[in-house]
Amino acid sequence: MKRHSFRLYRHYVALNIRSSMQYKSSFMFTILGQTIATVSTLLSLIFIFQRFPVIKGFTLNDVILCAGIVQLQFSIAEMWARGFDRFAVTVRRAEFDRILLRPRNHVLQVLGSQFELSRIGRLIQGIIMIVYGVIKAQVNWTFLKGLTLFNMIVCGTLLFSGLHMIRAGLCFFTLQGLEFMNIFTDGFREHGKYPLSIYGDKFLLICTIVIPYTLTQYYPLLYLIGKRTDWWLPWSPLPSLLFLIPCWLIWRIGVRHYQSAGS
């Protein structure tokens, strides 16, 4: 059954990619736009660091590495969880009915309904920034550091995906897009360029216990750039996965509400 689900998901992705290839120029322009946006992000970082060589102990290269990682987390989530991101449209067009009519898991079908290949532009730029940051910040590469980076990317991607899922779950009640949820996704991508400690201790605490951003960004980053060496830091992203439980619950409640309230 699991194997079949994976095959079905791959099939969905292939169809989505073939669909988006139908609109080549739109695809190219989207990627071009993302490139410009990312370059401007980089420039703004560079300008700021021309005035202050170090911000709360972080150098430009540390911040580029951090921004690259958050960018990568965000863009993978946007790519594969696009179905949740755009879920308001699905609900308003009553396309969720069709999902309920098929003998498959809802989440799998929503994930499969959209796959935004055009986010590959942002994704590649994230990778470039990470590679640049790793080289420039002179990360002494060890297995544990590789593992830290891997955990950050996987858990961060799932954290963003979970936020998209909450938004989708709430759509069942509002039937509208919820722009305020962008604070948590796009907002964190913007502010998460910098290690969260620069915003102060209170903010750091909120971003650990309310939405565990720091577990996929600040703490493992410290280990990555060699500021701290505690044994648990490479594993620090893993507890953030607990955040997916409330995300899933909100989604479940939304589905129940839809089925009992009608469309």
């Binding site: 669909s19 009553a94 009915d97 069709r98 009519l101 003998p103 089925q259 309230a261 009608g262």
Partner: protein, 272 residues
């Protein structure tokens, strides 16, 4: 075998006046009215029958279909289709049904229809031989050869409906729900759809539940009609129960609605 007993379904609808002031007020305090979409609906449909569900707009037909297909929970009452409770056994029950909404598509918009079918094969885990056999049969009955390689967005409405029908039957469902399958179709396409539904019913003994406002659909397809009004079953019989001498079926139907006080004037008064 489909069995419905005393099914009730209410919707909460936010009520608000018109104009900016009222809208602002409604933003802070909402008044809800309950609308009874189904008010104790009961009926039985034996296997292999074609049944037409009739009723004016807002009578509860779509709600009935949504409950029968497992999309919605009823507030109370019993629903049983082929031994399943639709809204509880979703995963197993949905393998046994096919649903076509005339106003919506289940095909991927930008890829050839055949590719959407291949995805359905994976969604329903249809074995190769069953899938190929069904696809061949549908292709022959609905003349799909050329359409299979065409993206859905390039199909005419009639062509698309033929493709939708095939899509909903690839997994050999035992029950087929058709919600206004001929809406907006030209005469030739309507005839093709009707003929196809009859063929499928005969060949496979598929139970067909049809909602439509086109009386010719009903005349051509269903031995049995069920009239729903205000969430209740008003008539369970045949078209001859409605038909009146010297009138078209539409006229007879309007007269029938009038007799049971279901005509639009009444409905408008209800709303005011």
């Amino acid at each position: 075998m489909i069995h419905l007993e005393n099914v009730v379904k209410t919707y909460k609808v936010a009520r608000r006046g018109t104009g900016t002031r009222e809208t602002l007020r409604a933003f802070f305090r909402r008044d809800y009215t309950e609308i009874r979409a189904l008010d104790g609906l009961s009926f039985d449909i034996p296997d292999g029958e074609i049944v037409g569900l009739l009723g004016p707009n807002g009578a509860g037909k779509s709600t009935a279909i949504k409950i029968l297909s497992g999309i919605l929970y009823p507030d109370s009452g019993t629903v049983e289709c082929n031994g399943f409770v639709p809204y509880k056994d979703r995963m197993r029950y949905t393998r046994e049904i096919g649903v076509v909404f005339g106003q919506r598509t289940q095909l991927f918009w930008d890829v050839p229809v055949g590719d959407s079918y291949a995805l359905l094969k994976d969604i329903y885990d249809i074995p190769d031989d069953v899938f190929n056999e069904n696809l061949e049969e549908m292709t022959a009955l609905l003349r799909l050869e050329k359409l299979l390689t065409t993206p859905a967005r390039q199909l005419s409405l009639g062509q698309r409906m033929r493709c939708e029908l095939a899509a909903s039957l690839l997994h050999s469902p035992k029950i087929l729900f058709l919600d206004e399958p001929t809406i907006g179709l030209d005469a030739a396409s309507k005839l093709a759809v009707r003929k196809f539904v009859r063929d499928v019913n005969e060949r496979r003994q598929t139970t067909v539940i049809l909602t439509t406002h086109d009386m010719q659909d009903v005349e051509a397809l269903s031995e049995r009609v069920m009239m729903i009004g205000k969430g209740k079953l008003l008539l369970n019989g045949t078209l001859s129960d409605i038909r009146r001498e010297g009138e078209s079926l539409d006229e007879s139907l309007v007269e029938f609605y009038r007799q049971i006080e279901l005509d639009n004037r009444e409905e408008e008064e209800d709303l005011s």
